[in-house]
């Protein structure tokens, strides 16, 4: 509900809305999806020029130094427009990881490049599904004089096809490390796994990749802390994308229900459809209310357990609501809804890929349960 946004936030929401032409830019999205392309360099440059890639990047590195509340507004708007470019993966997940890494010229160079759109670092951390913090990591970083040799397989890497390099998590003995590996490093290869919505997961294969010591970004607790925080923040901002997706999809359903005539009446006059639409609207408003509270909570810098719990609360509600709303949108549209030409299908598929990435509703509920065994009283 935009009425709770401040004036500044409302302006930002307005410019993101204008940028995606309020969802009217779908021909571009379709054209990209048909080729399993997810990246348009001109579009990315514009995102950089508008300052949105650097929303979270510190001002000292050329970013805006703002918070998740603002990143969520941008993501929600891009979600409405089904923008396939990897905004959350780069501007939140990679940016937050780099920000949490140890200070180094490389870190600052990557952050500045990320904000300017000239560098495209993405995080390659995950190896198994339903993982939340890379604890199931098998990738190794074997130290040698002058650096590490890194071997392993990373999966589910959003943004990999456009990336110019990876922030890779790996174990040196028992110690986690974050290392910068350019995409074209010897022994590093990227395969694209097509997704339902025309985007891709990158599967990054690392075979004895030689990583010079100066490309080490963080070690031990610093690496772990940077990764965990970035993952929770990215889950929250992905939730914002899901809110954008669900709101636009539900609008399309409601518009259709008001115009499609059967039995001599608009189908939106039938009570069974009205009540279904209302129940989905309630899910949408719950998702929106939770999202706003959670990003404010995360911006206040809570302890890791509270942060993880809040992120899981947001992703669980937003994922389930987006899936329910977009699937119902297919049903509300009838046979047309099942055609490739109908836009609601694009929304249903984006809801699926955003829900699956960084933990789906079920996985986040399970994590929330682990983190809050005695009850959710204080949250209510």
């Amino acid at each position: 509900m935009s009425e709770t946004l401040t004036e500044h936030a409302a302006l930002l929401a307005q410019s993101v809305g204008d940028f995606v032409q309020h969802g009217a830019d779908l021909p571009r999205v379709r054209a990209l999806a048909q080729n399993h392309a997810e990246f348009d360099a001109a579009q990315w440059r514009q995102l950089a020029e508008l300052g949105w890639l650097g929303v979270l990047v510190p001002e000292s590195c050329g970013g805006l130094g703002l918070g998740l509340a603002e990143a969520a507004i941008v993501a929600e708007g891009l979600g409405r427009g089904l923008v396939p470019e990897p905004y959350t993966a780069v501007a939140v997940l990679a940016a937050r990881t780099l920000e949490g890494a140890a200070a180094s010229p490389l870190r600052d160079e990557l952050l500045a490049g990320l904000a300017a759109g000239s560098r495209l670092p993405v995080l390659a951390w995950q190896e198994q599904p339903d993982d939340f913090s890379g604890l199931q990591m098998a990738t190794t970083a074997t130290p040698f004089e002058g650096g590490f040799r890194v071997s392993g397989e990373k999966r589910f890497v959003i943004g990999a096809t456009a990336a110019d390099g990876y922030v890779v998590s790996a174990l040196a003995g028992a110690e986690p490390q974050l290392l910068w590996i350019p995409r074209d490093a010897a022994g590093c290869s990227t395969a694209a796994q097509p997704l339902a919505d025309g985007r891709c997961y990158g599967s990054v294969s690392l075979r004895d990749v030689v990583v010079p010591r100066e490309q080490l970004l963080a070690s031990g607790a610093t690496a772990r802390g940077a990764l965990d925080r970035a993952l929770d923040h990215a889950a929250a901002v992905t939730s914002a994308e899901l809110v954008g997706v669900m709101k636009r999809a539900h609008e399309m359903s409601l518009d259709y229900m008001k115009t499609r005539v059967q039995f001599g009446k608009p189908i939106g006059s039938f009570q069974v459809l009205q009540h279904r639409a209302v129940d989905l609207h309630i899910q949408q408003e719950l998702a929106d209310a939770v999202l706003r509270e959670v990003v404010a909570e995360l911006d206040a810098g809570p302890d890791p357990a509270a942060r993880a719990r809040a992120a899981s609360r947001a992703k669980s509600r937003c994922a389930e609501a987006a899936l329910a709303i977009t699937r119902a949108a297919i049903q509300f549209h009838g046979a047309i809804g099942f055609t490739e030409d109908c836009d609601v299908g694009l929304y249903a598929k984006r809801a699926m890929t955003l829900s699956a990435w960084l933990g789906n509703g079920r996985a986040h509920r399970a994590r929330y349960a682990r983190l809050s065994a005695p009850g959710a009283r204080e949250a209510a």
Binding site: M1, T4, L254, M257, K258, K265, P266, G268, S269, Q271, Q274, H275, A277, V278, D279, H281, I282, E285, L286, A289, V290, R292, E293, R313, S316, R317, R362, R365, A366, Y368, A369, S372, A373, P374, G375, A376, R377, A379, A380
Partner: protein, 383 residues
Amino acid sequence: MSDWNALGDEAFRAEVRAFFENEFPAEYKFLPRRMRWSECRGWYLKLSKKGWIAPNWPREHGGMGLSPSKLLIYYEETERAGVGRMPDQGLTMVGPTLIRFGNDAQRAFFLPKIIAGEAIWCQGYSEPNAGSDLASLRTEAVPDGNDYVINGSKIWTSMAHDATHIYVLARTDKAARKKQEGISFFLVDMKTPGITLRTIRNIAGHEEFCQVFFDNVRTPKENLVGELHKGWTIAKGLLGFERLNIGSPRRPLQALEKLEMLAQARGLTADPAFVERLTQLQLDLADLGSLYRRFVDKVRRGEALGPDVSMLKVWSMDTYQRLSELLIEAAGEYGAVEGEVAMGDEAIDVLSPFYNSRPGTIYGGSNEIQRNILAKYVLNLPS
């Protein structure tokens, strides 16, 4: 009297908590049914004497004048201390109605009586043939000399057998173009000749509501609230607050506390299938809290509540029922037992949340009516 809003939230909470914990009679804590007036009169008067009986009223009328956040804390502590619901129609409905729509004489006469516990109110809205379709009500009031003469019947009138007064929606213009027009809002003394009561036993076996019959009941003309034929507007004006109240996480929270207690006592937290369902409900309630705070903030900013507040009532009462149903399921064979069941160190009344959560989806406009309202006025779907 203190300005409670000047206190910090936590200081205020501590003061309310201490008073409720120390002063509320132990034998009535967490009663599985509504308290009768004979049981809660002492507590009512104690709160009245302390100046705490009307937390939601402005201070000029004898209330505490609490801000929404303080009011919420007050309500939360009420639930935490196990203080049951008293006959509160005077405090939640009649007082705010008279403050907004009444005249000076009505305020001067009735408000102090509500504060002092001398006037206990019940609500004369529903009729045997006017439930969800309230505007089709047929109880009528006809002017005669200095009085209106009321004939008809009201039903589902909670705690009418304890009430000294009833507020009544009655038809005053049968020729009105629309059924919502031609309805007026009256205040009636229950001792007036012609009023008779029939108590109705509810599904839990408690006598909490009644049918009230009006046979040539005379109420003086000064007991008409607001304009003649404009009673529907008054009734509607109160609904937003009623729905915000019913839509708060308060009542479902009680059921969740019992459910968690029972889950611990029975070792169900080791059952992944149960934990998945419990977690879903915990999140449903936590997320209701987020939505509720959004509406409370709106009130705090002085904005009027729109028809969208209906979604709170739908979700809150729906969640309450689902919690009460999982509680029964989690109790296994004990889920069939009436009254308290000893489980581990706890004694849990498994069925009372089930019973207590049933009417919430029916009264105050059923959840289906709320969905109609949301479809029409929020989603703008055609009729």
